[in-house]
């Protein structure tokens, strides 16, 4: 029982990362039907931007863990968000109507980001600043670190914020309109490219938020860190129902918990297999996901 609870806590932490990244996948897919393969690498870039900011702050003698983390998050989120917009403009926008070409372009963009990090930073693991210790509250006999609490709470807040933006603001209404019918939305005077750009911006900022927190949580980052987690976050998005924001959150947490339980009870070497098996199973038995609406095959 204790193992189960401990794995539940770990799973919720990892699940928060999956959920944050899955949101980017699900928003982009919902609007332009693109599996943005580069999204996992955008997350990695976010983590590296965060590391650079920490380095810069250390040079400026800003040592307060909370202040520096806040600054690192803000700087990294802004830069990564802009990167997401550039990515859309360069690699995706000219190919919006060629489905296979845009997917391959996305794979190319993913490799480009990975190996740009490889060249600019390092081919090996880099160590993140160790700002938060292991101490924290004890819940029902389970040790929880303050960092885990921070990750969980802040991601919930961000997700709630995103939900509000999408469902309560004019921009959010434009996004939802685009998801339903792009041509009709254009006729209603929505600036389609600007809304898609904004979607990429928001998705990338969420991914970069997850990236910085991952760095703090695991204390190390590498240029390939985005590949596997990107695939799994996509799995999470599909699990919850692609295009659906609460679905991505649910899918992320669910996948994180499932995977941690598999790692705790069976073997951590097989946890990735569990994730992909879940993906294939879900796609076969319920392709619309847990919360998704029925989608019609479009060619």
């Amino acid at each position: 029982m204790e193992i189960a609870l401990q794995q539940l806590v770990n799973g919720l932490t990892v699940g928060a990362f999956y959920a944050l990244i899955a949101l980017g996948y699900t928003m982009v897919y919902g609007i332009i039907r693109l599996i943005n393969f580069a999204h996992g690498d955008v997350y990695a870039v976010g983590a590296f931007f965060g590391l650079s900011t920490y380095g810069l702050l250390a040079l400026l003698h800003i040592d307060s863990p909370f202040l520096s983390t806040l600054l690192a998050l803000v700087v990294s989120m802004c830069c990564t968000g802009l990167l997401g917009m550039v990515l859309y403009r360069v690699a995706y926008r000219p190919l919006l109507h060629a489905r296979l070409s845009i997917l391959i372009s996305a794979i190319g963009a993913s490799l480009t980001l990975e190996y740009a990090l490889f060249l600019i930073y390092s081919p090996s693991f880099l160590v993140y600043p160790h700002l938060f210790g292991r101490e924290g509250p004890t819940l029902a006999g389970i040790q929880v670190s303050w960092l885990q609490v921070l990750i969980f709470v802040s991601s919930i807040v961000l997700m709630a914020g995103l939900y509000t933006v999408v469902h309560r603001t004019k921009v959010g209404m434009a996004m939802r309109a685009l998801a339903i019918n792009q041509d009709a939305a254009r006729l209603m005077g929505i600036n389609v490219n600007r809304v898609i750009s904004l979607t990429f911006f928001i998705g990338s900022t969420l991914a970069s938020f997850a990236g910085v927190l991952t760095g703090l949580y695991y204390s190390q980052i590498s240029f390939l860190m985005g590949f596997l987690i990107g695939l799994k976050a996509f799995t999470a998005a599909v699990l919850g129902g692609i295009g659906n924001i609460p679905g991505a959150v649910l899918g992320g947490f669910l996948l994180g918990v499932l995977e941690s339980l598999a790692a705790g009870y069976y073997s951590s070497r097989w946890k990735d297999v569990v994730a992909f098996a879940v993906l294939i199973f879900i796609l076969v038995v319920r392709p619309r996901g847990l919360l998704g609406e029925r989608v019609v095959e479009r060619m």
Binding site: S101, I104, S105, G108, L113, F234, V238, F276, L283
Partner: protein, 347 residues
């Protein structure tokens, strides 16, 4: 409107290029250094893989992002039976074909009804599962893989030297090439083309898409399995690091670069994919970066590939013609002359 009667003639530079490729391919084992012949053999491996994936992606229009899984299954089957059961190379080929075909059916049957980009993700997941399984199982040798695989032999002749491996690879390529060319012209090939162009219309014409897609999947898997078997006896040691997602992307790149559905395109694509990185070896650090940027640029500038299939060209020309006619019709119908000129220019 005049229907396109005959396929457009081959372009003159294409005939010259084809002749050069054939001459190089035949002369290489006699005049090349062992290093060059080895590079040539690697090109042949990618030609086999490209031809196999071409059936799935080029003919049937299904995006497969985990194709290296079938390559792995073929290689591991041959290696396993040759090392643990001391079988000769040739009898392992049908076993490898059976294993890859079975895995193609297992992963294909439930998933081929999915939307095309979901299929891409499922195949990607399958590719990763196979790789992780090969890394974790004991009978596959874990991360070290299987080593000490015996050489293939024909009678008393042991195929060990670089030129003989090259010829063995060439034999595989010729069989697969002839097979692919015949498949494209068969009833199966026409059904694939119909499904690729318009699945609903194909279905209305009496083609059951799931069956034909599954056939494409299984045949593609078998070709990859054969390539894997050859790969195993060529290297005599295999491990999971040869069968990563990047490998699947590289194979996909072969056919996208060459031109989907085009057999000469696949050969050209394989040559470029293998030779270019070898030529860039001095700049090893930027190789993958160039690769990534190259993919994006290729998609932006020349999405049809270096040597597009002739049917692809017919299609493009037909589309361009009908668009021009529509534009002309619009112009005659009273739209401004400037607008029709613009649409003609864009088509």
């Amino acid at each position: 409107m005049k229907p396109a009667s005959a396929p457009p003639a081959r372009l003159p530079y294409q005939a010259a290029l084809a002749a050069i490729v054939v001459v190089i391919a035949l002369a290489l084992p006699f005049f090349g250094t062992p290093y060059l012949i080895d590079v040539g053999t690697l090109v042949l491996v990618y030609v086999m893989l490209g031809l196999g994936l071409n059936i799935v992606v080029g003919y049937a229009g299904l995006l497969d992002l985990g194709y290296a899984a079938f390559f792995a299954i073929g290689a591991y089957t041959t290696a396993y039976f040759m090392v643990h059961y001391h079988m000769a190379f040739w009898p392992t080929l049908p076993i490898a074909a059976a294993c890859t075909a079975a895995s193609g059916v297992i992963i294909g049957t439930p998933t081929l009804r999915l939307r095309s980009d979901y299929l891409a993700i499922v195949t990607l997941g399958f590719g990763e599962i196979v790789r992780i399984a090969a890394t974790n199982f004991n009978f596959t040798g874990g991360p070290e893989g299987i080593y000490g695989i015996p050489h293939a032999r024909i009678g008393a002749l042991i195929i060990r030297s670089t030129p003989s491996l090259y010829w063995l690879g060439m034999a595989f390529v010729i069989v697969i090439l002839v097979g692919s060319a015949n498949l494209a012209r068969s009833r199966l090939g026409r059904a694939w083309l119909a499904i690729r162009e318009d699945e609903a219309a194909a279905q209305a014409a009496g083609i059951y898409p799931v069956y034909f897609k599954l056939m494409a999947y299984v045949l593609g898997a078998i070709f990859a399995g054969a390539a894997g078997s050859f790969f195993a006896v060529k290297l005599t040691a295999i491990n999971p690091s040869s069968f990563t997602f990047i490998q699947s992307v590289t194979i996909l790149m072969v056919i996208v670069l060459g031109g989907r559905g085009s057999l000469p395109g696949v050969i050209l694509g394989a040559a470029v994919i293998v030779v270019l990185p070898e030529a860039l070896r001095a700049f090893d650090q930027v190789r993958m970066l160039t690769f990534g940027v190259g993919l994006v640029v290729l998609m932006l500038l020349r999405p049809q590939g270096l040597w597009p299939s002739r049917y692809g060209r017919i299609e493009q020309e037909a589309v361009a013609r009908s668009e021009a006619e529509v534009a002309a019709g619009v112009a005659a119908g009273g739209a401004s002359a400037a607008e029709s000129a613009a649409s003609r220019a864009s088509s």
